[in-house]
């Protein structure tokens, strides 16, 4: 298996907490594909700083409430 990125996230948890926002809807809102949201949730992809901020803004929380560091 590929080494997991040190960045963790709570994207799935936040989607569910915000009324079950779909991966496609979140992806469309921040300008990435549904597959990229899936990859982020499965820790197979660390988003760019810009996308990280867009995700945080979408959920109306701070970036540190979405992403963590496990380095």
């Amino acid at each position: 298996m590929a080494k997991k990125p040190p960045i963790t996230n709570r994207v799935r948890e936040l989607r569910e907490a915000h009324g079950g926002v779909t991966q496609a809807a979140l992806g469309e809102a921040i300008g990435v594909t549904r597959q990229t949201i899936i990859a982020i949730e499965q820790d197979r992809y660390s988003p760019s700083l810009e996308s990280a901020f867009r995700i945080a803004r979408f959920f109306k929380v701070g970036v540190e409430d979405v992403f963590g560091w496990e380095g």
Binding site: V32, Q35, S48, S51
Partner: protein
Amino acid sequence: MSFREKSAWVMAAIIVITAVLYAVMIAPLPGAVPPLPIVIGVVVVLTILSVLGQVAIAVFAPRDANAAADERDRRVADKAGNLSGMVLAVGVVLAMGTYLMGHGGNVMFHAVFVSLIAAQFAEYALTILFYRRGV
């Protein structure tokens, strides 16, 4: 599976088919001379299969096919393209080595052609790997 990953699977398969076709057609010929009609034929077959393959995938997922590449797609493409470029560079250097060792221009031509095919295959294989295992 994203449109681009499906596309990479199809293109990897087409590259393998093209490589086998090239090998089967060239192998029986004496003197390793690369005949122009065969080389052109292989390129034409590769082009036609590529177009048909892409159209076939796009028919089943037209929305994904028209979507612009996002940041992950671009990162995957950059990394796969970078590494496959190295495969091509190594292949070309080895091909030049065959010429310097006296195997002649025909063998060098085949070696460069094979390097091109290997580099393309590497690019699609790496694309699939990065989409599946992360980039």
